[in-house]
Amino acid sequence: MIMTDKCILLIDDEETIQEVVQVGIEIEVGWQVAIASSGLEGINLARTEQPDAILLDVMMPELDGISTLSQLKANVQTRSIPVIFLTAKTQAAEKEQFQNLGVVDVITKPFNAMTLASRIAKILDWEL
């Protein structure tokens, strides 16, 4: 059964990433994908939209992924939303470090947007 009721918030400054993630997830599982191009925009959207999960790019100008995460975790409205990091860094040590900050998991670039939803569902233990 395809879950169409999920809403995912993607916070990434790369427009092509925004697009392929949106299209990929829509085609794969039909979830709604909200897009934010910066950390600040993402924090606001998270508050207003209350997504089921947040995909957060680590390397961003101005407010980077880690700072954005700490603000999300500091806010009562957003602290319980599961956050998955998107990163080009692949080291295990970094992954551990990120998990300590409160992220659920880390997905390393390059990933396949067409299977991204399956990976998220697996991480968050959602039934598809």
Binding site: I17, V20, G24, A88, K109, P110, F111, N112, A113, M114
Partner: protein, 698 residues
């Protein structure tokens, strides 16, 4: 003479004696007045008897009254009226008859003169002899001695010719020194014929005969006719011949003949009677010549010895000089070579030092001093601890001790040098081994230190560059990859078959690009040491099975059978990296295996003291690897055939990564292959515990 008495016959006899006695006899009374004298007494005092009778004997002699009292023989000088002085010897016999004494006088004036003359003559002879001897001895040269001898003899004897004749071994001989008056022909150097000096003569001379011939023509001379002819030839009228005998054994002739030669004086003007003195002088001089000969020989021997010794010494000296020259040359060559070595050592931008067994610096180049900012005196001969300080010494102590056990050590260290900057140094200790009793004994080690700060900086830049590039590649790759995957679903519109094929190529190549980027990053991380291997006890079987499961899909796709033999070994390893290694090796094996072939994954225990190793093996039935490629395949981008890379979609980094991982575990990786039967890739890991009996001893 009224008082005179007649003597009996005996008395007459006595009177005759009294009258004819050559000694002057006086009979004196108690007051020494003459009562009787004999003829000799009258003659002595040149007085007639009458004049003498009654006169005092003291007055007569012009002496004091107490004269002539002594009974022993006394001497007295009396002065005659004509002024002549006569020396008298007298003796007194008192009271030959009561009141009469006898005084006997003898004129000894002439006797005394003769004695004095003889003494004088003897003194002169002694003086002459001493003088001649002195002259002869003045030289140590035999020739000069002989010449002096003949000259002196000629001068003293006033002979016309004096020569020294040397007797030769063959019986002949010749004059070797001569002093001859100018009017006579010299005979020097002319060999005397044998008949002139026959054997019997020779024996006589050898026995010490002195032959003085006053006249060679006189019958009593008894000279042979040939000798007289010979004498005539040289106008010899008289001759005196004395032998020169030698006393040294070495000079003696084999028959024991001591005759060395003759000292001969010739008189040519007229015959000459040779005096005893002349004979004696000649003999003594001949003796002196004999002594001189002996001395000369001794001297000659001594000189020979000295010459021989000198020759030996000079040879030894020459040899020594040569040796010194050789050594000097060697030393100079050594010095030159040392200087060159030092120049080279000083010219190098690395630190070179030699440290002895007791950890004292024994050599260092200038760079050492410059880098450490220490004068040579504070390095050379000093202990490492003193030069480097306590803290730094503690850091290097292990390496130093390892080098002193005979192992080469290389390590890197960051040290703050005199310029205040921290430098990255690469330090190598090379043990200095000397074979002793077939064993290598460590004498010390050479320390080579090079500044690799620049290299390190470049490495860091390279790492950063790779990291940035890889990272920056990932984002667009994600977009491309995802876009292609989305298109491939066909949900955005259907493509023609060719279009689908193009899409597939783009997709495959993107995946390959992703792998390449991942591998580049992996390798760079492992090589730069940024990756920390998290090692723990891992069950070898679990690692193997996990890798096989990962690769199962690929194997099935290729139609390759994947077989794993379970084992019960535990290894000390980083789980993820070893699975990656196994996966890499399996992936390669599958890639290069024909379909319907088998790839085996196994592990064996290799006993290798002090640590046991587990050897993993991935065996395929592929095309095999040429021998020259077995080593290079572990280098980066070194596939056996570069077309393989494209065909099989490899990155050329997989084996390089495997090697880095295995070496990071203290293991080894290698490949064995045959072009017919396929290849086997092995790698070892330290074994931890043996869990069961189901192990494969290798």
């Amino acid at each position: 003479m009224g008082g005179r008495k007649k003597f009996p016959t005996k008395k007459l006899f006595l009177q005759a004696i009294f009258e004819s006695s050559l000694e002057a006899i006086f009979i004196v009374d108690q007051r020494d007045r003459i009562v009787e004298v004999n003829a000799a007494a009258c003659e002595l005092f040149n007085q007639i008897e009458k004049k003498l009778i009654g006169s005092s004997i003291a007055n007569l002699c012009g002496c004091s009254l107490d004269c002539f009292k002594e009974s022993a023989i006394q001497e007295v000088k009396i002065k005659h009226s004509n002024g002549t002085i006569t020396t008298l010897e007298y003796s007194r016999v008192s009271n030959i008859l009561p009141s009469y004494s006898l005084l006997v006088f003898r004129d000894v004036t002439n006797l005394q003169r003769a004695v004095a003359a003889e003494l004088h003559r003897q003194h002169q002879r002694v003086q002459l002899f001493a003088e001649v001897t002195l002259n002869i001895r003045r030289s140590l040269q035999l020739k000069e001695i002989l010449q002096t001898a003949v000259t002196e003899v000629q001068r003293i004897l006033q002979a016309d010719r004096v020569l020294i004749y040397q007797v030769l071994a063959n019986g002949t001989g010749m004059p070797i020194s001569e002093a001859v008056l100018p009017e006579y022909e010299p005979i020097l150097g002319i060999e005397f014929p044998e008949e002139v000096f026959p054997e019997d003569y020779r024996q006589l001379y050898a026995g010490g005969r002195v032959n003085a011939i006053a006249n060679v023509h006189a019958t009593e001379a008894g000279l042979a006719e040939c000798l007289i002819d010979f004498m005539n030839e040289w106008k010899v009228k008289a001759k005196l011949v004395v032998p020169i005998l030698q006393n040294l054994k070495s000079q003696s002739k084999p028959n024991g003949d001591r005759l060395w030669g003759l000292l001969i004086a010739h008189q040519c003007q007229a015959p000459r009677q040779w005096s005893e003195f002349e004979l004696e002088l000649m003999q003594q001089l001949a003796d002196q010549v004999g002594i001189a000969l002996s001395q000369a020989e001794l001297l000659e021997n001594l000189e020979d010895l000295v010459a021989e010794r000198t020759a030996k010494l000079s040879q030894a000296n020459k040899n020594l000089q040569q040796e010194i020259n050789v050594r000097l040359k060697a030393e100079s060559a050594l010095r030159r070579s040392e200087e060159q070595l030092r120049l080279i050592a000083n010219g190098l931008p690395v630190l070179i030092a030699y440290v002895d067994q007791q950890q004292h610096y024994r050599f260092n180049n200038e760079a050492y001093q410059n880098w450490l900012g220490l004068p040579p005196s504070e390095i050379n001969g000093c202990h490492l601890q003193k030069v480097h300080g306590e803290a730094e010494y503690k850091q290097i102590q292990t390496y130093v001790e390892t080098a002193l056990t005979g192992q080469t050590v290389t390590y890197e260290q960051d040290i703050a040098l005199i310029d205040g900057c921290v430098h990255s140094l690469s330090i190598t200790y090379i043990p200095h081994l000397i074979e002793q009793n077939k064993l290598d004994v460590v004498q010390g080690f050479f320390a080579l230190t090079s500044d690799i700060s620049d290299r390190k900086a470049i490495e860091r830049m390279k790492d950063e560059f790779i990291a940035v590039v890889s990272h920056e590649l990932r984002t667009p790759l994600t977009s491309i990859h995802s876009s292609l995957k989305i298109l491939a679903t066909g949900k955005l519109g259907n493509l023609s078959t060719k279009g689908q094929r193009m899409l597939q190529i783009a997709d495959e190549q993107t995946e390959r690009l992703v792998r390449l980027v991942n591998n580049v990053l992996d390798l760079q991380r492992i090589q730069s040491g940024k990756v920390r291997m998290t090692k723990k006890a891992c069950n070898a079987s679990e690692l193997m099975i996990e890798a096989v499961q990962t690769m199962q899909a690929m194997a099935q796709e290729q139609g390759v059978k994947l077989l794993v033999e379970p084992v019960n070994f535990v290894v000390w390893a980083d789980h993820d990296y070893i699975v990656q290694t196994l996966t890499n090796l399996l992936s390669n094996a599958i890639k290069f295996s024909p379909s319907r072939s088998t790839v085996w994954l196994s592990a064996t225990n290799t006993k290798h003291k002090p640590i046991d190793y587990i050897t993993f093996a991935v065996q395929d039935q592929g095309q095999g690897i040429p021998k020259d490629g077995l080593e290079t395949i572990f280098e980066r981008f070194q596939q056996v055939d570069s077309s393989d890379s494209r065909k099989k979609g490899g990155t050329g980094l997989g084996l390089a990564i495997c090697r880095q991982i295995v070496e990071g575990h203290g293991g080894e990786i290698w490949a064995e292959s045959s072009l017919e039967t396929g290849s086997t890739f092995y790698f070892t890991l330290p074994a931890l515990i043996q869990l069961g009996v189901n192990d494969h001893d290798g």
